[in-house]
Symmetry: C2
Amino acid sequence: MAAQRLFVWKFGGTSLAGTDRLRAVAERLVAAHRAGHQLVVVLSAMGGSTDELNAMAYSVSGRPQLRELDALLSVGENISCALAAMAVQDAGARAVSLTGPQAGILTDGAHGNARLREVRPERIRQELATGAIVLVTGYQGISPAGDVTTLGRGGSDASAVAIAAGLGLHECEIFTDVPAVFTADPRVVPGARPLAAISRDEMLQLAAAGASVLQPRAVELAAAHDVDVHVRSSFTNEPGTWLQEGAVFESFEITGIAHRDREALYTVTGASPATIMAALAERGAPAGAIVRNGSEIHLTAPGVEEPEVLEAVSATGAQIVLLDELGSVSLVGTGIGRRPDTMARALQALEAEDIEPLLVTSTPSRVTFHVMRRAVDRAVRRLHTTFGLHQAAAVALALDRAARSVS
Amino acid sequence: MAAQRLFVWKFGGTSLAGTDRLRAVAERLVAAHRAGHQLVVVLSAMGGSTDELNAMAYSVSGRPQLRELDALLSVGENISCALAAMAVQDAGARAVSLTGPQAGILTDGAHGNARLREVRPERIRQELATGAIVLVTGYQGISPAGDVTTLGRGGSDASAVAIAAGLGLHECEIFTDVPAVFTADPRVVPGARPLAAISRDEMLQLAAAGASVLQPRAVELAAAHDVDVHVRSSFTNEPGTWLQEGAVFESFEITGIAHRDREALYTVTGASPATIMAALAERGAPAGAIVRNGSEIHLTAPGVEEPEVLEAVSATGAQIVLLDELGSVSLVGTGIGRRPDTMARALQALEAEDIEPLLVTSTPSRVTFHVMRRAVDRAVRRLHTTFGLHQAAAVALALDRAARSVS
């Protein structure tokens, strides 16, 4: 057995949906606690409950104030933490639930999408010292004014990484409803392989391109504080994917393929890229890509609702047109954006499938092709084969790492 | 129009059940705010939600820890306050929701039934100064350890009175689903009359005897801090009943009649009254009456679950037997317990109905008769007639008071 350690674990909403799953999580915690480990466990709201609370808000107000929306939505995590504490106690271990404010998660005052400023884990340490499993509400923090803030959708991943960093740890495990990060979406590519390890940059690129296993913000935090993140299944004891520096496989050109079934492409005239960027940033809606083409600017804003983009850009006085029949396919791998051969092979492969990309954008570690929506799945499968992603890779580093985790 | 004032209002769960009612409350608040008044509004959880949360707790744990139960149950008030703030904002006024901890409601650490220690309303005053309607979660406080506590069922009434006192006010209005305090339950006695005013002691006695319009604790707090409480309908603008000192009608022997359809009577042998009292008090379950009869002790514990009483008393090594076919009828009026004529008239009236009380207990302002359950309603009606409660009373004092409230 491994030495006794302090772990930071995070469980998502689907892992907590319903009494049976909650109990299963509790039993996993108690087993690790019995083995002598200390546990800080970050929980999301139970599956669907945040959506329900959100619907309640919009049933009483057309435009709920963000401060009050935070006060309301944060309640979902309070519920799951208190219930989980009860379930753990029932399973025979000491447990205590802490809200984000109690756990010392300090944020700025940007309600609805607050930035983490600092974690002061005194209360967490205090409770750990009493022998309790400490359950912390994800997604929440406290503003300088003393109000509950939320970190934006999926913010619980960021909470977990921040708490690990605050406790001086260099690891954190995210238990989720998928067993690992795959070379492509297994629903689209039956031969897609789980990746034992992936670099943070690659994970960021996959997430930005539509593979929503882990919130990009959590990955950025992990990079900033040098925290390795283990993404794994909450339903099994199998190791998943380690997100870590050094997990770049030189033998592999492409780490994985991400896609979006629907990705709007906007065409803007009458404003500079800087103006557009500023207008979007003001609403917390970052542009995915901005490409200038003569007097026209092509713009993507993945993850942002279309009306929001249209409104933000129109407000600058610019004209904006939406092309909404597109999806996107992205190749992700460290350095691939700098290799002309990758781009050439990809374009040849797409051509062989009669798929013509309407927009190609590239960053150092990602190349994204906007294609017609009906062609997305075919493009993913073709590129997966072209770049040999079905083949097993050398995963020595990751296996070594995985063996150190509790299972 | 009355001068501009600071009001503390409280709305209960049935007043908040559903979007329409929530909006109606919001409109009432906005109207008073537009008239220039400052409002601190204490809210309960929306109808039924506390029961739902409680059921969730027991679905994951047979014996949930009180600290975690508080963390869970307090969520209901957070939801109603955040939603009400949104509804008020939507209706056109500034509003801010504050939790018990934010509002400065300090309690001891007795989770599940915390005692109020102090109200530090700095944040409330701050928010009032910005022109906002301040919505405060009822039922909640913060323990010295920094954890959310709850004040026990119905604790929102106590929150409202405590906040009024903390703000230096001598009035507080409780909006509820009944229009007033009546001389008897109108469902049992069709001729029952609403009381325009009632003394705090009488209200305490009515509450202790089963008339659950207002939590006894709120009444005690009102007495301790000299706060007059106006109990009124949240569905109309009619004045209800003022709870205040000086509201004792010398012309009236009896103020009202309360009853309980079911009230267990226990017979204990093998322990002293002091031991029994101590055993119950330890579990926060006060005895209603303890009557010694030779070596037997008769005991009532209204409002406490029977298994809890049986367990607490058995634990002392005493024998306890439960007689569970009883209900109770109580006459309430200042000083009636000291008047032999009242007792005599009541017993004659019951005899005329062929009702034989199995236990009679009296305090200075209440006389309680334990009778067979099937006889309770008849006893209430007969006593209501015997003591002339159908007749209109002099209510000048109360009307004067009611006219000062916003309506």
